[in-house]
C-alpha cells in the first residue's frame, strides 16, 4: 500500500505519515436496541470494495483527525477535509 494523502492542515504527505482510523460510522445517539445491534456497531465493518468515507489522523504531523473518501480498490483519495467541513455523506456510510 502506498499512496498520498492531503492533510487539511499540512498538505500532501506520504500515507506512512498518517494513522488510519477506520471507516467512518456515526456513533448512535442512543443505545442500540438489542445486544446483537450493539455488537454489530462495535465489531462489524462494512468493508466495501469501492469508495468509502474514513478517518485519518496526521500522526507524524499536526495530529489532526480528518475525513477522507478513498476508493479501497485503487487507493485513489477523492478528498480530505476536517470534520467540520465534511460534505454530507449518503445515509449508508455516515
Amino acid at each position: 500500500m502506498s499512496f498520498l494523502l492531503t492533510c487539511p492542515n499540512c498538505g500532501v504527505r506520504e500515507v506512512t505519515d498518517f494513522g488510519y482510523g477506520g471507516e467512518s460510522s456515526k456513533r448512535p445517539a442512543e443505545r442500540p436496541a438489542s445486544l446483537r445491534e450493539l455488537s454489530a456497531y462495535n465489531y462489524f465493518r462494512r468493508n466495501v470494495a469501492g469508495v468509502q468515507r474514513e478517518w485519518w489522523v496526521h500522526r507524524s504531523g499536526c495530529r489532526a483527525w480528518f475525513l477522507a473518501e478513498r476508493d479501497t480498490t485503487t487507493n485513489a483519495v477523492l478528498w480530505t477535509v476536517l470534520p467540520a467541513d465534511a460534505p454530507r455523506a449518503d445515509g449508508a456510510s455516515s
Binding site: 502506498s2 506520504e14 443505545r31 465489531y43 489522523v57 483527525w65 487507493n75
Partner: protein
C-alpha cells in the same frame, strides 16, 4: 587483457592512477575503472565461481547486471564488480570459492556431475537429501556451505554501511538514461515538468556511450541538466509499487513518487546456449564493446563473434577497430551477407559465416577455441559443417529481450509478436509510458523519436504545453508508426556439436542447464512458472536478465510449444537485487527518556525498556528501595506518565462522555481516578483527572498509553464538535512521586504550602513552588503511602530531583513501585487487564456510574454486562508456601485452566508471596482456595479481595 591506446569515449582518467586490493594483492587502476575492468587489466580473467558447480566465471555483461562478477567490497557481499567504480584503498575479495578463486575445492561438484550423473541436477535437494530424515540438519549445514553468494559479517559493527531515505515527489520519473530516456526527460522538462531521471550506470547515455554515440549522449545529458532534469546516476529503480519507485543510489534510497512514469529501460542482450557457454572469455558482444570503448581494454587478443543479428557484425567491426584480431563472425541469419555492414566486414578482412552459430566452446581455464557449425532446427550441428577456430574471446549475442519488468510490475502486459519474434509491451497502465528499446524501438532514430513522444505525452497529460504541442505530437506519432519493427532472429534453444561433455547453461546465475529444463519437463514441470520454480532458472541475482529468453526457448524446445504460448514469467520486484539493509534504512528505534534520565544513569540505575521509554528499573536493590518508601521516604521519576490538558467550556462534558464516572462534578483543586473504556466496555487505559479551574482539567494516563489516549481524546473531540481543546504536555512536563511516612516533612522543608492533612488532604491538588520551582502538587498514592506527585516544567526536572534527593528522599525504580502498588492491588492496565477486561471483572464496579446522563463510551456494553455475572474476576492472592508464581501461570479449577496469574511478587514489607489473578467468579471471595499450575507443579493460593497492605486506606489518607 591489455589496455588499448586511448579510446575516444573512454571513461578512465589515465592521469589519476589509484590502487586497491583484491584478495590481498595490490591492483593498479585508473579513476573511472570498475573493479572488473581493473582486475581484467591486471591480467585476471576469472572474477567469481558459479553458484552451484563452482565453475570459474569471467566477465559477461560488462555493465554491472550479471552474477558472474559478484565480489565482496569492504565486507559487503554481493557487489557487482563490473558496475562498481574503484576507489583508492578499497578491499575487494572473491566470494563463493574455497580455499581460493584459482583453486576451488567445491569444483568437485561439477566433475561429479559428469561421472555420477544426477548429483546437483535440478531438484537434487528435494530427492537426495530427504532420507533419512534425521540427517537433514547435517545435510543442511553442508549445503549451506556449498551454496550461496557471499557471506554477511556476523557482527553489527562490521556492517557499518547504512542507507538513508529520501522522498522525492516530481511530475515525471524517467527510468533509464539511454537515448530514449534522456530525450523524454529533456522534452518533458522543456515543457515545464519537474523531471527526475534515474540510470544504473555511473553516467547517463546507455548503450550509445560504448557504441559510438558518447559525444552526443554527453551533450544530451548536459541539455537535460540545463532543462532542470534531476539526474540520478548509479541509481537503480528497484520496483514499481502503486506509483512509488524506490531508486537505490549508493547510500541513499530515493522514494520517488511521480505523477507520470516513462520506462526507457532498454533491452537486454541475451547469451547463446551451447556446451561450455560459461567459459571465461565467453562474453556478450555488447559487454565486449563496453570494455573496449569505456575502459580501453582489449577484451581478447583474438576474437570469434557469434550472433543472430546486426549486433554481432557491429561488435566485430568495433573490436577490429580497437585492435582486436577478429577470426570470424558467425551469423545465424541466412541473408547475413546482404546486411549493410557486410561490406565493411569484408574490407576489414573478417570472414562472415552466414547461417552459422557456435556449437561449443573449448578451453581449460578459459576459451581457447570456438567450434562453429551450421545447425538444424533443434540446434544440432549439420554433418561436416563444423570448424574449429582459435580465439580467446567469444563474443556472443542471442538477440535482446525488452527490459519490461517495471512496466509489467506497473500493471502492463507483455505480448509476443509472432511477425517479428519479439516480446513487446502490450497496453500500458494509466500514467505509464514506454520509450526506446523496451517498446521495441531499438533503432537509434526510432528510440529518439519514441523518447520525444513519451516526454511530450507525459507533460501534456499533466497540463504542460499547449495546442501547438499537441498537434506536433500527432505528427511525431505518425512518423514513429511509419517505422516498422524489424524481425528478430531466434537462435536455437541448444546449439551443440553432438559430442559428449560440456554443460550448456540456460541460466548462469543459478547454474541451470538445458538438461535441467528438459528433466523438469520430463517430471511434469512443463509451464514456465513451474519450470522456473523447479529449476530456479531466472531466479538468480540478475533477476533473469540474461536467462529469460534462453529459459523460454529451452522450455519451448522441450515441450514442443511455441515461444509465444509459453510467455514470460511474472515480473516481481526487486528489478535490481538489493541488500535488505538498504530497504531497512537507518536503524531507527525511537527511545524516550525523561528529562531526569541522566540522574538515573549517574546513580547506576538498571535501565530497561518500558514501552518506548527507557526507565530506571531499580537502583540496585528493589526490595530495599520498596521498604524505604514504607519506612522513610522514596522518590520516583514518573515523567513518563501521559499528561493532557483539556480546556474549554465543554471540557467537563467531554470527560463525562469518555469516562464511566463523572468528571464534571470534580471541584477545582480536586482529583479523581478514572478508567478509559472502548465502546465494547473494555478497559483501555487509566489515570487521574485533576480539575485545575472551572474550564481546565489536567489528565494523566499510563506511560505506555499516552499517545493512544491523546489520539482517542482528539478523535472523539473531532467527531463531537464540543467546545474544548486538548494539549498534550507529556514531553514538556516532568513528574516526580515523593512517598513515604516522611514525605510530608521532607516536602515541607521545600515549600511554603501548608501540607497538613486538613489543609491539603488526599486527592487535593495545588499550584505552589517546591525548592523555588513552580509546581503542580497532586496528592495521590499509587504506592500506598502518603504521597505527592510533583509536576513541573521538564526544564526544571533535574533541579527538582536534586532538591528532593538532597533532603534525603531515596530514589526507587519501576520494580519497587510495582511491588508497592501490588500490595495495594492497584491494577496495571495491560498487565492485570487484557482486551477482554471490563471494570466489572476488574473489581472496579464502583467506578461505573450508569446513573449519569451521558451516553459515555462503553456505557451500552456495560449495561449489558451489568445484568450478567462475569465468568472471571480479578482478585488478589497470597501463596502460603511462599512460592512466587510466574506471571502468566495458570489458575486451575477442577483440574482445568480457568484463569491466570497477572502479577506476582514477594512483598518485603509483608514478607509473603502476593499476586493478582483472574479466577472463576465463584472463587472471587476472601479466603477461597485456588490452585495455580506453574512450570509443571501445582500449588495452593488464598484469595484476598482487599489490598494486602492498608486495606482501608488509613495510611494513604493520613
Amino acid at each position: 587483457m591489455r589496455r588499448l591506446p586511448p579510446q575516444p569515449g573512454e571513461r578512465i582518467d589515465r592521469s589519476a592512477p589509484l590502487s586497491f586490493t583484491f584478495d590481498g594483492d595490490a591492483i593498479e587502476a585508473f579513476a573511472g575503472d570498475t573493479i572488473a575492468s581493473a582486475l581484467l587489466a591486471s591480467g585476471r580473467s576469472v572474477l567469481s565461481r558459479s553458484f552451484k558447480y563452482h565453475r570459474p566465471r569471467g566477465e559477461l555483461c560488462g555493465c554491472g547486471q550479471c552474477a558472474s562478477s559478484l565480489v565482496t567490497v569492504d565486507g559487503a557481499p554481493g557487489v557487482r564488480a563490473c558496475g562498481r567504480p574503484v576507489t583508492a584503498g578499497m578491499v575487494v575479495e572473491h566470494q563463493n570459492a574455497w580455499p581460493s578463486l584459482r583453486f576451488d575445492a567445491m569444483r568437485a561438484t561439477d566433475k561429479l556431475g559428469g561421472v555420477g550423473g544426477t548429483f546437483l541436477q535440478v531438484g537434487f535437494y528435494y530427492k537426495t537429501f530427504i532420507r533419512p530424515r534425521r540427517m537433514w540438519p547435517v545435510y543442511e549445514r553442508v549445503l549451506r556451505h556449498a551454496a550461496g553468494l557471499g557471506k554477511l559479517p556476523n557482527r553489527q559493527e562490521q556492517r557499518a554501511w547504512r542507507t538513508e531515505y529520501r522522498r522525492r515527489h516530481c511530475d515525471v520519473l524517467v527510468i533509464g538514461g539511454g537515448i530514449a530516456g534522456l530525450t523524454a526527460a529533456v522534452h518533458a522538462a522543456q515543457l515545464g515538468a519537474d523531471v527526475v531521471l534515474c540510470d544504473d550506470d555511473v553516467e547517463p547515455g546507455g548503450v550509445q556511450l560504448a557504441e559510438g554515440g558518447h559525444e552526443r549522449m554527453r551533450e544530451l545529458a548536459a541539455r537535460a541538466r540545463t532543462a532542470g532534469v534531476e539526474i540520478l546516476s548509479g541509481a537503480s529503480a528497484l520496483g514499481y509499487f502503486d506509483g512509488l519507485v524506490p531508486v537505490w543510489q549508493g547510500d541513499t534510497l530515493h522514494q520517488v513518487r511521480a505523477r507520470r512514469h516513462v520506462a526507457a529501460t532498454g533491452a537486454i542482450e541475451q547469451p547463446l546456449v551451447f556446451p561450455d557457454n560459461d567459459l571465461p572469455g565467453v562474453m556478450l558482444a555488447g559487454g565486449a564493446r563496453r570494455l573496449a570503448a569505456l575502459y580501453a581494454l582489449a577484451p581478447g587478443a583474438s576474437a570469434v563473434v557469434a550472433s543472430v543479428d546486426e549486433r554481432g557484425v557491429e561488435a566485430a567491426l568495433t573490436l577490429h577497430a580497437a585492435g582486436v584480431r577478429v577470426a570470424a563472425v558467425a551469423d545465424l541469419r541466412r541473408d547475413a551477407a546482404d546486411c549493410p555492414a557486410a561490406g565493411r566486414l569484408a574490407e576489414a578482412g573478417i570472414p562472415l559465416h552466414a547461417e552459422t552459430t557456435v556449437v561449443r566452446a573449448e578451453g581449460r581455464r578459459g576459451v581457447e577455441r570456438a567450434v562453429l557449425a551450421r545447425v538444424d532446427r533443434t540446434g544440432l550441428a549439420l554433418p561436416d559443417s563444423a570448424q574449429q577456430l582459435e580465439c580467446d574471446l567469444l563474443a556472443v549475442s542471442g538477440g535482446a529481450v525488452p527490459a519490461s519488468s517495471l512496466l509489467l510490475q506497473a500493471g502492463g502486459r507483455s505480448r509476443y509478436d509472432v511477425a517479428t519474434g519479439r516480446f513487446l509491451p502490450g497496453e500500458l497502465p494509466e500514467g505509464v509510458h514506454a520509450a526506446g528499446a523496451v517498446a521495441g524501438h531499438d533503432e537509434l532514430g526510432a528510440a529518439e523519436l519514441s523518447g520525444e513522444l513519451a516526454g511530450i505525452e507525459a507533460a501534456l497529460a499533466l497540463g504542460f504545453g499547449g495546442e501547438a504541442v499537441r498537434r506536433e505530437l500527432a505528427e511525431r506519432r505518425a512518423r514513429l508508426e511509419a517505422r516498422p519493427l524489424t524481425p528478430c532472429a531466434a537462435p536455437p534453444a541448444h546449439a551443440r556439436d553432438g559430442r559428449r561433455g560440456g554443460k550448456a547453461f540456460v541460466d548462469l546465475d543459478e547454474d541451470v542447464t538445458v538438461k535441467d529444463v528438459e528433466q523438469a519437463v520430463a517430471e511434469g514441470y512443463d509451464s514456465i512458472e513451474l519450470s522456473k520454480r523447479y529449476t530456479t532458472a531466472t531466479m538468480g541475482p540478475s533477476q533473469g536478465r540474461f536467462s529469460q529468453l534462453p529459459a523460454v526457448r529451452a522450455l519451448a524446445a522441450a515441450t514442443g510449444m511455441p515461444v509465444g504460448e509459453i510467455g514470460l514469467t511474472t515480473a516481481r520486484p526487486p528489478w535490481t537485487t538489493v541488500a535488505l539493509g538498504v530497504l531497512a534504512g537507518r536503524p531507527f528505534e525511537p527511545a524516550k527518556r525523561s528529562s531526569i534520565h541522566a540522574r538515573h544513569r549517574a546513580l547506576g540505575a538498571t535501565v530497561k525498556w518500558a514501552g518506548d521509554w527507557r526507565r530506571a528499573y531499580d537502583y540496585g536493590d528493589a526490595a530495599a528501595e520498596a521498604l524505604a518508601v514504607q519506612t522513610t521516604v522514596g522518590l520516583i521519576d514518573v515523567s513518563t506518565l501521559g499528561k493532557l490538558i483539556v480546556r474549554g467550556p465543554d471540557a467537563g462534558e467531554l470527560l463525562d462522555r469518555l469516562y464511566p464516572n463523572t468528571m464534571s462534578s470534580i471541584k477545582p483543586g480536586r482529583i479523581r481516578y478514572g478508567v478509559l473504556l472502548s465502546d465494547a466496555g473494555r478497559i483501555t487505559d487509566d489515570g487521574t483527572v485533576c480539575r485545575l479551574d472551572d474550564e481546565t482539567f489536567y489528565v494523566t494516563t499510563t506511560s505506555s498509553g499516552a499517545a493512544a489516549v491523546e489520539q482517542w481524546f482528539s478523535w472523539w473531540l473531532a467527531d463531537w464538535d464540543l467546545d474544548a481543546h486538548l494539549t498534550d504536555v507529556t514531553q514538556g512536563v516532568s513528574a516526580l512521586n515523593l512517598a513515604g511516612p516522611e514525605a510530608r516533612a521532607l516536602l515541607g522543608r521545600l515549600t511554603e504550602l501548608d501540607l497538613s492533612n486538613e489543609a491539603f488532604p488526599y486527592l487535593d491538588a495545588q499550584h505552589t513552588t517546591v525548592a523555588g520551582i513552580p509546581c503542580l502538587l497532586l496528592r495521590i498514592g499509587f504506592v500506598g503511602e502518603v504521597g505527592y506527585e510533583i509536576h513541573c516544567a521538564s526544564a526544571h526536572g533535574e533541579r527538582l530531583w536534586d532538591a528532593l534527593a538532597a533532603e534525603g528522599a531515596r530514589p526507587f525504580g519501576l520494580e519497587p513501585q510495582r511491588i508497592l502498588r501490588l500490595q495495594k492491588q492497584h491494577i496495571l492496565v495491560g498487565q492485570d487487564t487484557d482486551s477482554e477486561s471490563t471494570p466489572y471483572g476488574a473489581a472496579l464496579s464502583w467506578i461505573v456510574k450508569l446513573e449519569k446522563p451521558q451516553q459515555f463510551i462503553g456505557r451500552w456494553a456495560l449495561e449489558h454486562a451489568a445484568q450478567r455475572t462475569a465468568a472471571t474476576a480479578l482478585v488478589g492472592f497470597t501463596v502460603p508456601s511462599g512460592r512466587v508464581p510466574t506471571e502468566g501461570a495458570v489458575v486451575l479449577h477442577d483440574g482445568k485452566p480457568a484463569g491466570q496469574v497477572t502479577s506476582a511478587r514477594r512483598s518485603p514489607k509483608l514478607n509473603q508471596a502476593i499476586g493478582m489473578a483472574w479466577v472463576p467468579a465463584a472463587q472471587a471471595v476472601d479466603d477461597a482456595r485456588i490452585h495455580i499450575s506453574d512450570v509443571g507443579s501445582t500449588f495452593e493460593a488464598r484469595v484476598t479481595t482487599k489490598p494486602f497492605y492498608d486495606p482501608e486506606g488509613a495510611v494513604l489518607r493520613s
